[in-house]
């Protein structure tokens, strides 16, 4: 199974009404790789991430995670829609971290982290708490277990959000501009956690404007503009000598 890519997006098309947001997007991410996705605002990066865990359904192409089609089952030539329960089961294996953290404000940090393991996976509370405390320790926030999210800084909230996603032992992590909502001095603490995660061998797709992060830990880089992948390759190559004019002009703005 190791030769099956973790994410295989093949000619993905996604439209909202008549507005085609993704036009023929093909991306392959192998196991243990960190893929960075950059591009101007409105180019479809978030939409693409949301298609990967089937928060949005695609209108064309094939999208599989770990060799399994997302949201559909194929028998012969025909595609069958999966039931909501099956889609939920697929999503449970894919972690997602949002720009605006989206922690559950009515729950403490610890309750946020054990919610899905206990409710979705049926893990016993004591075991879930033990795992949660390990994860909190890993992101440096064990002492905040009983705090409510509103009492934390943005950087702390995002680290909790990462721990919450990790608590489901995902095989893939999706990050949608995880540091864009943070004050500049809090970006580093979140990137450090993500770097540690990359080193531990997690497969990650990271939408980011942090070019330094892409250069340092990215195994591949995709530049998206207007719903298409304009250029992709080794981050160090693409960032140093972009071939396309659109990539060049975008990079000149963010660098």
């Amino acid at each position: 199974m190791t030769d099956v890519p973790m994410v295989h997006a093949d000619h993905i098309v996604k439209s909202y009404g008549s507005h085609q947001v993704l036009k023929d997007v093909s991306v392959t991410v192998n196991r243990g790789e960190v893929a960075c996705l950059i591009g101007p605002s409105g180019s479809g990066k978030s939409t693409f991430l949301r298609c990967i865990n089937h928060l949005e359904s695609i209108n064309g192409g094939r999208l599989s995670v770990d060799g399994e089609l997302m949201g559909y089952r194929q028998r012969g030539e025909k595609l069958y829609e999966m039931s909501p329960a099956e889609v939920s089961r697929q999503r449970a294996d894919i972690g997602m971290v949002f720009q605006s953290f989206n922690l559950f404000p009515h729950m403490t940090v610890l309750e946020n982290i054990i919610e899905a393991p206990t409710q979705v996976k049926g893990i016993k509370k004591a075991a879930a708490v033990a795992t949660a405390m390990e994860l909190l320790d890993r992101v440096g926030l064990a002492h905040k277990a009983k705090a409510y999210p509103s009492h934390l800084s943005g950087g702390q909230q995002q680290r909790v959000a990462i721990a919450r996603a990790l608590a489901m032992s995902p095989k893939l992590m999706l990050f949608d501009e995880p540091t864009s909502a943070l004050d500049p001095e809090l970006v580093g603490e979140v990137l450090d956690v993500m770097k540690g995660l990359a080193r531990s061998g997690m497969t990650m797709i990271v939408v980011t404007h942090e070019i330094g992060f892409a250069r340092e830990v990215g195994d591949s880089l995709f530049f998206m503009d207007g719903g298409v992948i304009v250029e992709s390759g080794d981050p160090r190559e693409v960032l140093t000598s972009p071939k396309h004019e659109r990539t060049q002009s975008f990079l000149s703005k963010v660098l």
Binding site: L103, H106, T108, H143, S153, L186
Partner: protein
């Protein structure tokens, strides 16, 4: 003392019009109270005599029971109707819309009269195969229902239409990202609703619901429309008819309504505080260590809580 830090000693700005206005109002109220206290028609001795009458305190209990039971049922039904209205299922949406149209579009008094007549309208219902002579059995579905429960149902069915709109507003007030985060974690629609969205919508739902409860308390006085006469208003009317004294018993009823309303308002205060947790840190209990943490973070220095804690005196360990 440094003049820059010296407290300001200034003559307070005067509000002559405001003061004059207050004096006039106080005088008017005093006049009214003095007049009322001495006016025959109020029959104060009777008010005192019947205020603690057992029949009336029991009736107040019945009114409270009607209010609470009808509201509980209305909240559950309203929740279901709101969720139906927000679902993708066009059938559920339409059913919910029709329900609201029907129950909000007709006066509650008229509805209650209908509830009272159900027993007559559906004196016998025969279960069988339509357009044939096959009959399985015949029942009279409403004859077994006690008038009290009929009143609860009548009040609840009307109120559910209003609660549905309140709940819907509450659910829509929860940011989309919450629903997205829950689903991304693999939670089902049901789990997302019950554990993430609905608890957060409570903060928005409770204040108007409190108003609905108080309004329901007063609406219970209409259930005589379906023939139920053991609640506060009907009971005081019955007594005043016996003793030929209307005004003192109306005062007695009003005092009881005010008393129960006040109790309900206290309950509402505590509920609002409970569901505001995690949102309003300043209202959290003072001995909560996390609040102490939060207070210790100076937003102006930009230092995160950890950095400050690193130099702060040792704190109680969590976990």
């Amino acid at each position: 003392m440094d003049p820059a830090t010296e407290p300001i000693k200034a003559v307070k700005l005067r509000h002559p019009v405001r003061t004059a206005f207050a004096v006039v109002i106080v005088l008017l109220v005093a006049l009214f109270v003095w007049d009322a206290a001495t006016r025959e028609a109020y029959q104060w001795p009777l008010v005192g005599q019947y205020l603690l009458d057992r029949r009336i305190s029991q009736a107040a209990g019945v009114t409270l029971a009607l209010t609470v039971l009808a509201m509980i049922l209305a909240i559950v039904m309203g929740l279901v109707l709101a969720v139906m209205r927000l679902s993708d299922n066009p059938v559920l949406k339409a059913v919910s819309w029709f329900y609201l149209w029907l129950f909000r579009g007709t006066p509650v008094y008229v509805q209650l009269v209908f509830w009272g007549l159900l027993g007559t309208i559906y004196r016998s219902v025969t279960i069988g195969i339509p357009f044939t002579s096959v009959e399985f059995f015949t029942v009279s579905p409403f004859s077994a229902i006690d008038l009290f429960w009929l009143a609860v149902l009548g009040l609840a069915f009307n109120e559910a239409a209003y609660m549905a709109e309140i709940v819907r507003g509450g659910i829509l007030s929860v940011p989309r990202g919450q629903d997205e985060a829950a689903r991304a974690l693999g939670m089902s629609w049901r789990q997302t609703m019950l554990r993430i969205v609905v608890p957060q919508s409570m903060r928005v739902i409770i204040p108007p619901t409190g108003n609905e409860v108080i309004s329901m308390l007063k609406t219970t006085s209409l259930v005589t429309a379906l023939g139920f006469s053991l609640e506060l208003y009907a009971r005081t009317r019955a007594i005043s008819a016996q003793i030929y004294a209307t005004v003192p018993l109306l005062i007695v009823a009003s005092i009881w309504y005010l008393l129960v309303t006040s109790i309900l308002m206290v309950g509402q205060y505590y509920l609002e505080r409970y569901y505001g947790r995690g949102v309003a840190p300043q209202r959290a209990p003072e001995n909560d260590p996390d609040v102490a943490d939060a207070a210790g973070v100076d937003p102006t220095t930009g230092l995160s809580g950890d950095e400050i804690e690193a130099v702060a005196p040792p704190k109680r360990e969590h976990q």
